[in-house]
Amino acid sequence: MSFSFFLLVLIILGLGSYYFGKSKALALKQNDVVHSLPKYYGYYALVWFATPALIIVSLWLIFSEGIVTNQVISSLPDNIKTLPTNELTLILNDIKNKAAGNLVAGESFIGFELAAETYNSYSKIAENIIIYSSIVLGLISFIFAYISISGKLRARNRIESIVSKILLVSASIAIFATAGILLSVLFEAIRFFQIISFDDFIFGLTWSPQMAIRDDQVGSSGLFGAIPLFLGTGLISLISLTVAVPVGLMTAIYLSEYAPSRVRAVTKPMLEVLSGIPTVVYGFFAAITLAPFIRDFGETLGMNIASESALGVGLVMGIMIIPLVSSLSDDVISAVPQAMREGSYGLGATKSETIKRVIIPAALPGIVGGILLAASRAIGETMIVVMAAGLSARLSINPLDAVTTVTVQIVTLLVGDQEFDSPKTLAAFALGLTLFVVTLILNFYALRIVRKYREQYE
């Protein structure tokens, strides 16, 4: 039985169990009080049928590969079984390729063909076990459910609790993903800190990750002081916020307080288009249009400006986060009760006085929260800086210098052929972890401030 046919059978049986559950409830209804609507009994039977099948199939997806492989290994000749793990893995890959019918470079040992066949037959057996056991178990559990259907069974409430469980599972996926990402970065970072001390990394003033990869190579020992990178990130983020915060805030004020509804209807979607532009495209704009313009403009003034200046990158990044600042601020400004505005107008205040003295102070926590979110976006932004910022880690706060950022360095460290246990590669994970922690703290505070603001008016 092929897998797609198996799925078809499962679906048909599932529909069948729904139908039977519902019809039993309909039949009961003829001469008895039935707690829920008949369709809920149908869902109830369906859930009971589907749950064992889903559990078995997901277990299969997780474990079958390992079990089959182990079976194949145990069937291999002794001299191969005892090979080191990495060589054994290569042979196993060959066997799997052969089993799948692909071309294999060379048959490395006697019994190779046999092993491929073994692999195939074990896979087949495993598949059959899964298919039949899930159908049989599903049917058994359906029968129990079918028997249990009576007028007193509160199918509606049962379904409600199942729905809430499904939602819980969906919600926890995001949390598990975050934890998984954090852990994967954390373990690599710990390996880095076993080689380079934490203090050197956090407080070091020189970033020069070039080091000898092989023992016989001549090379510097590599310095991993992250301060220049974080300074560069901070500088570029600061420039972008200097652009985005005033412009975004004033845009929000115009849109929420002054703009006639027709202007608002056009402008808001336009701003959202700005936030939908891929950051690669912003990168082009920074690298090809704005940065040379700034450099040439500097030359006419007699200034020496790097063509990868922090200024150019920061300006473009600022444009990118304007929509973020403006739409978040727009939300909180609109949330200030109309009564506040009328109270102020009623005392003879003008519109701008009202905005300056009443609305902005009332909306301030929310606006600050929005700015912090924008800041964490700017800090983590990668593509624009990769395309338009420099590579040399200079300890500088001059916006006209070329600086590099944490994200740029992570990309450069990981691009190309690298050994995965050299400090140079592992440094990328340490940087990633630090960046993650920084933006996490920023987001945490931003959300707390936003929440505090919400409590004020509810």
Binding site: A339, G343, G346, L347, G348, A349
Partner: protein, 274 residues
């Protein structure tokens, strides 16, 4: 609203004449009409507001009382779809004329709203807000004086004098409303408009506000919108009954509540419309 629908009103609707005119009028509305887009909310309102008197506006929900009161300080300007025609004067000056500075108008015609709406600032700053934007004080001592006088007149001073720096929103509902009255008084208005000032308050707080209104009458003209007929009869000298955008009857309060001329007013007073 069901009862209202039974009574059809046309444009040549009969209005009972105003048999009382105030001794000394400060504001006057002549043929004032208000439109929200196409819908007409007020039809030809002719009404006078006298100095040192409380005028109450009564009538069923949606009859245009609040719309009218918001015409008197041009607060309807903030609603894009609202259009006002006719003439409203403040001491003879047309407030809808382009010569009129709406900012100064609103300083002279203060307003207290249905729901207390103190700013999320300190008690002191709430009261100082108006004088500050109008540049009414030269020094900190001046401002302290204004704040203290306003709070005294609003009957709130004794309760808040020790906590002028706490947030206005932390006060009780009744205190908040008196703070809003103090805030309006602080800019020395001629007229104070009150749009159902007690509808969000408990009976004790309502009592205090009503006493306060009676005191304030000595210095200001007050126009109050209210749904409570007992409140209207307690605090006002004249009353105006609005019905579906028409001003039906204006008269001395005792007359309106004792022996109104118009059938609609009688029905409302006796609780048949409402």
């Amino acid at each position: 609203m069901k009862n209202n629908e039974l009574i059809t009103l046309s444009d040549d609707f009969l209005t009972v004449g105003d048999t009382t005119t105030p001794n000394e009028k400060i504001m006057e509305s002549q043929d004032c009409c208000v439109f929200y887009d196409e819908a007409q909310a007020l039809r030809n309102i002719n009404l006078e507001v006298g100095k040192k008197e409380v005028l109450s506006l009564i009538g069923p929900s949606g009859c245009g009382k609040s719309t009218f009161i918001r015409c008197l300080n041009r607060l309807n300007d903030t609603i894009d779809s609202a259009k006002v025609t006719g003439k409203i004067t403040l001491e003879g000056q047309d407030i809808y004329n382009s010569d009129m500075d709406v900012v100064l108008l609103r300083a002279r015609v203060g307003m207290v709203f249905q729901k207390p709406n103190p700013f999320p600032k300190s008690v002191y700053e709430n009261v100082a807000y108006g004088p500050r934007i109008h540049g009414m004080s030269e020094s900190k001592a001046d401002m302290d004086e204004i704040v203290e006088t306003s709070l005294l007149r609003a009957g709130l001073w004794d309760e808040v004098k020790d906590r002028l720096n706490t947030s206005g929103t932390a006060l009780s509902g009744g205190q908040q409303q008196r703070l809003c009255i103090a805030r309006a008084i602080a800019v020395r208005p001629d007229v104070i408009l009150m749009d159902e000032p007690c509808s969000a308050l408990d009976p004790i707080a309502t009592d205090r506000i009503e006493d306060l209104i009676s005191e304030l009458k000595e210095n200001y003209a007050i126009v109050i919108v209210t749904h409570s007929m007992s409140q209207a009869s307690r605090v006002s000298q004249r009353a105006a009954y609005f019905h579906l955008g028409h001003l039906v009857e204006t008269d001395a309060t005792e007359k309106i509540f004792g022996d109104p001329d118009h059938e609609l007013t009688q029905n409302y007073i006796k609780g048949r419309i409402g």
